[in-house]
Amino acid sequence: MDVTSFLIIFGVCLACMLACRCLPIFLLKGKQLPERFVRALNFIPPAAFAALVTNDLFDPAKVASGDIALWGMPLLAAAVVLVVGAKTKSMAACIVVGVGMLAVLTYVPALL
């Protein structure tokens, strides 16, 4: 990647990112917001994390490929992490169990 292309991509992406990250804070901080707006804001965390998880686990191309293991193993590992997360609320435990579970599901069948 040449320097000019990098600077264009980096500069524009950085400007967009800073606008998305900082503008809402500066526009809304310290304001007396309507009750309905605050109620909507408080639904953001569950909605955002559900969206992030779904985005990571669901890939239409993998589902259409017909290879169940391709998308089924991460889904199975995620289900185990969900149980661990619900019981422990520990991020470290979730990461260790999640990555470990996916590694076992991915590599162990190949060894058998």
Binding site: M1, P24, F26, V38, A48, A50, L52, V81, C94, I95
Partner: protein, 303 residues
């Protein structure tokens, strides 16, 4: 941290506390707060129990000037370390990928430090290697990162009394992971913007260092990207588990899932997270309006 509960007053605090942090975490936080208070008391009374008094005095002086105590840093690191761990695992292959796309180490360093986006930094080299035009790369990366607006809007409730510089640096260093970690603690009531900024900075440092390390070591080591990225998926699942289980929140979750799946099925992969999350928020809002569920209406102003 203090915040003003406009609609339901202090009665809202137990509602927010429940389900956001485990009992163990609450005890740890309480112990940390007591430890911080004890440290402050010691500093104010001039009693410093150490043989090497000069360095301690100097450190205390710096801490007072910056408003960041050692106890605050310790609390922040305790909150941030799972993110730090995940970023190390995910940052190294990201740096390797950048080098593969022809990026110099300084490019990777500056991008990690200022742009600071895992999704974006994986997309840029991948799209570049695939021969996409610059305009397509920029549009795709910008669309994927629009979800950050939701985090800023949500965190703005806790930045009421933060200065402009603090609010800017805090806002500019928010990521998916640090948003979840900080918001849970801010709602709990004993987490200031400075605490949150420290979490962001620890995470940013680990991301930048591991990206640069990945760029320097190149392909000398091989980390499976699918496994590395699943560390972050696991973290998101845990953050999801920390949310309070209410009918309206469940509607938000299933609305988001349906929204993301629908977006990706029709080829809108770029804005899928933003649109999915907005669908979830909209569905939950409509649900709570119909069922007159006003539990999520606490207004928080200030630190």
């Amino acid at each position: 941290m203090k915040y003003l509960c406009v609609t339901v007053g202090k009665a809202a605090a137990p509602f927010y506390n429940h389900g956001t942090m485990s009992e163990t975490n609450l005890k740890q936080n309480q112990a940390a707060v007591e430890s911080a208070a004890a440290e402050r008391d010691g500093a104010e009374s001039g009693v410093v129990e150490s043989a090497a008094s000069e360095p301690v005095v100097a450190e205390t002086s710096v801490a007072h000037k910056s408003g960041v105590s050692a106890a605050m840093q310790k609390e922040a690191f305790q909150a941030a370390w799972p993110i730090v761990l995940g970023y190390i695992v995910l940052g190294i292959p990201c740096g390797i990928l950048g080098v593969a796309a022809g990026m110099d180490v300084w490019m990777i360093a500056i991008m990690s430090l200022l742009f600071y986006s895992g999704a974006g930094q994986y997309m840029i080299p991948n799209m570049w290697l695939a021969g996409n035009p610059i305009s397509a790369i920029i549009a795709s990366v910008a669309l994927v990162n629009t979800r950050q607006m939701l985090y800023g809007a949500s965190l703005s409730q806790f930045c009421g009394s933060a200065g402009k510089r603090l609010a800017f640096i805090f806002g500019a260093t928010v990521t998916d992971e640090s948003f979840g970690v900080n918001l849970a603690r801010m709602i709990n009531g004993n987490w200031s913007v400075k605490h949150a900024l420290l979490v962001n900075l620890f995470s940013l440092t680990s991301w930048t260092v591991s990206n640069v390390a990945g760029a320097l070591i190149g392909s000398a080591i091989s980390l499976p990207t699918a496994l590395a990225s699943f560390a972050m998926t696991s973290l998101f699942i845990c953050l999801l588990c920390m949310q309070k289980v209410t009918p309206a929140n469940l509607v938000a979750v299933f609305g988001s899932i349906a929204g993301v799946i629908a977006c990706k099925c029709v080829g809108l992969a770029g804005p899928a997270i933003l649109i999915g999350a907005l669908v979830g928020v909209g569905a939950a809002f409509a649900f709570s309006s119909v069922h007159h569920d006003n539990r999520n209406t606490t207004m928080k102003v200030g630190e």
